[in-house]
Amino acid sequence: MANSKEGHIVGTSAPRKEGRDKVTGAARYVDDMVLPGMLYGATVRSTTARGKIKKISFDPRVAWDEFVVVTAKDIPGQNCIALILDDQPCLAAETINHPEEPILLLAHADRHKLRKAVEAVSIEYETLPPVHTLQESEKQSTIIWGADNTFKTFLVEKGDVDSVWKDAAHIVEGEYFTGAQEQLYIENNGVIAAFDPEHGVTVWGSLQCPYYVHKALMALCGLPEDKVRVVQMETGGAFGGKEEYPSMIGGHAALLAMKSARPVKIVYDRMEDMVATTKRHPSRTRHRTAVSKDGKILGGEIEFVIDGGAYATLSSVVLSRGTIHAGGPYYWPSVRIRTRAMATNTPPHGAFRGFGAPQSLFAMERHMDRIAEVVGISPIEIRRRNFLKPGQTTTTQQTIHENIDLDQLLSRALELSDYHAKKKHFAVENKTRARKKGMGIATFLHGAGFTGSGERYLNSLVGVEARADGVVRVLVSSAEFGQGTNTVLCQIAAEALNLPYENVVIAQPDTTVVPNSGPTVASRTAMIVGKLVQSAATGIKHTLAEAGLLSEDYTPEQFRAACREYLAAHGPLKSEVRYEAPPGVYWDDEKYRGEAYAAFAWAVYVAEVTVDLTTYSVTVDDFVALQEIGKVLHPVLAEGQITGGVAQAIGFALYENVVWQDGRMVNNQMTNYIMPTSADLPPIRVFFEQNGNIHGAHGAKGIGELPMDGPAPAIVNAVEDAIGVRFHSIPLLPEDLFHALEEEPPVASSSLPAFTRGAR
């Protein structure tokens, strides 16, 4: 990749830094690593959803003295997975709150003996009545968490909602549901831990946030900062599923390593990973909207409730994002948004790409089509009349300063998808065909970075250092797990320093080597961490210039010479930059009001579907994804993020159903949890607009999660267009279509048989 005087590495598709290793099988994931003397670890888990442990028995036919056994009593520090509320135990001591809750840990050198030993531990429980649905939890007749089963609530108020109803020409109500979704990274969760009294604990793992694990291990193991080391290995997919969970599995391996003084590897198989680890929060949203005669939203009430599972973990933050996105990209003169995260006796739900926004935006975008129908105008027109415009405020009263034109974005998406012509054509064709076709749209936004004062709280620190040979190394805790972290951050540094891309490398995230640049979540890496990398890289240049070693224009050879001289004279050449909140940005955490995000990306997605009335199945035939994302830093990677996110969201909408029984996932195999194959997905056509962003590196906005928000409602809107039936719940399975088309109206939730979703 040649480097011109002006740079221009950013904006090109530079080779993936770790790409060659990945295509040759040389990339090292956790299970590829073996340490001398290593043991394997496994977890004995609860078979009941709620209760008290009465007795633990160890089958005497097993030679237990060969095994390392760890229970809650062995925990040197606090028995919790430190995150936000610290209510989740690392190992259950007396009380069980969900199926598959970890109770004790075993380790042995022989994997097979280990597995048999897990089966040889029997546990007796005194069971307690469990809560398995949102309704049961809200009813609060059985309290399973805190005083009222409620992890968190938010209230957002704007304008004067109580006064809008009397002037409303229409009052439109709706109730919308989304189910749990499994992240289904193709590499299961896994870690290796080692311990020695001198260095403390080291954990190598498949993970997104080395410093989250670091913090959790300090608390669990009772060790100081410099006696815990966390290293991220090549990670085979994450999507949020390895944001907080690695603290749990890492904690387990660390405890076994501490007790045995041997390295311990814990790698889940697919069945264990699916049944025991986090999933997307199921949700229920209720809308009640006052609309004027000509289709303008006057105001409304939105109630958004998510099922957090048995412990708080990240539910408050998921709720936060879902709350802030609940109003979509529309202007609400008045609104009241009431949201809650509730407890149920199921393994805690957790982070998954989108993080609350796909749930509340599904509801908003379905509801917009409903409003259109009531008002008597098209789904296109209703949105045009309500889009946020520059100068207006969002539901949290954040003023939109950027020059976004959603009207034009929508027009462009309609043109790219041939929407009008197709709709007209289908209306005719559908009269005589058993395969009905329809078009649906979704218009939405996604805020990048941590909410409000979150980035200030994270206080990210980034480093860039230069070596004597002129190679520059980026030092961040931001993890690569396919999205292109390594590549993009090196591009940014190379461009800032006007060096060839090949002269920039990035350190493996190791908490003894890299500073804490924050977790790799919330679509913040390119935008926020990237900007810090840019500053830090620039800092290297300035240091050399100030030392009189580098002029304003320089060649890579001159840079190398300057580095060599500097290091010889002064020692290490390193530049560190800490995040600074942009001035004039105000967020009120009490009233949940103000500048929620430094930047929003905006999108219009269009789905073309076929509904086959012979099999009641829906297929997506074509998909257009148009988004305004500030700046495309790397065309191939950016496109890859969108197509990958759209594919996952198509799964969310039509294929991926978690079958629950007594709080436990029973279809925990890839045979029975259905994600789309290459034979199922449509051509996904991706288009970008780039309006810049003052807060992001090179004007970039975050895009990792954006594509998760739009496809599901666009698809369900398209299904309604095709067959005239309104669906309010995803996943939308053929059995649901059949039921709606051929049987009685949906029955009340309490009488749903076991094999249907639990979100209701």
Binding site: T24, D31, V636, S678
Partner: protein, 165 residues
């Protein structure tokens, strides 16, 4: 390697892996996947599901694409196995590997070895595949990151290059 039990229930197996003959003493019901990874240190082949659904464990066995998690090692006795480590010709990447790099076919990389084997197999059987044939040829390899589009591009690109050659 960590299987317990009697040495006398093991048996002798020999097969060629990436051109080299390997002779092993293993339990006959060891999965070929585990033998490749643990006995032979060829960790490029991955386990994603253990049920023959995800294709991460795909290898070529006597020229046929198979899921190595479903093959008892004795059934590979006398066979010719090719894993991802055997696809590049020393440091020269196979056209498919190059195309995956250029088109963004690999993101997290965990499905990539199996996906490349499946693509190699496809192009050997169908040097000029249609889009539908590409989709079918790769339908047994799940990718959670890419949404497949850039993988199809990579296979199409590699096919065109081979045709040109």
């Amino acid at each position: 390697m960590n299987s317990s039990g009697d040495a006398k229930t093991k048996c002798d197996v020999s097969f060629t892996v990436n051109g080299e003959v390997k002779r092993l003493r293993v339990h006959p019901m060891e999965r070929l996947l585990d033998v490749l990874r643990n006995e032979l240190g060829l960790t490029g082949t991955k386990e994603g599901c253990g049920e023959g659904e995800c294709g991460s464990c795909s290898v070529l066995l006597d020229g046929l694409l198979v899921n190595s998690c479903l093959i008892p090692v004795t059934q590979a006795d006398g066979s010719n196995v090719v894993t991802i480590e055997g696809i590049a010709a020393h440091s020269l990447l196979h056209p498919l590997q190059k195309a995956f790099l250029e088109c963004g076919g690999a993101q997290c990389g965990i499905c990539t070895p199996g996906m490349i084997l499946a693509a190699v197999h496809l192009l050997e059987k169908k040097p000029e595949p249609t889009q539908a044939e590409i989709r079918e040829g790769l339908a047994g390899n799940l990718c959670r990151c890419t949404g497949y589009m850039q993988i199809f591009e990579a296979v199409t690109k590699a096919a065109q290059q081979r045709v040109v050659r």
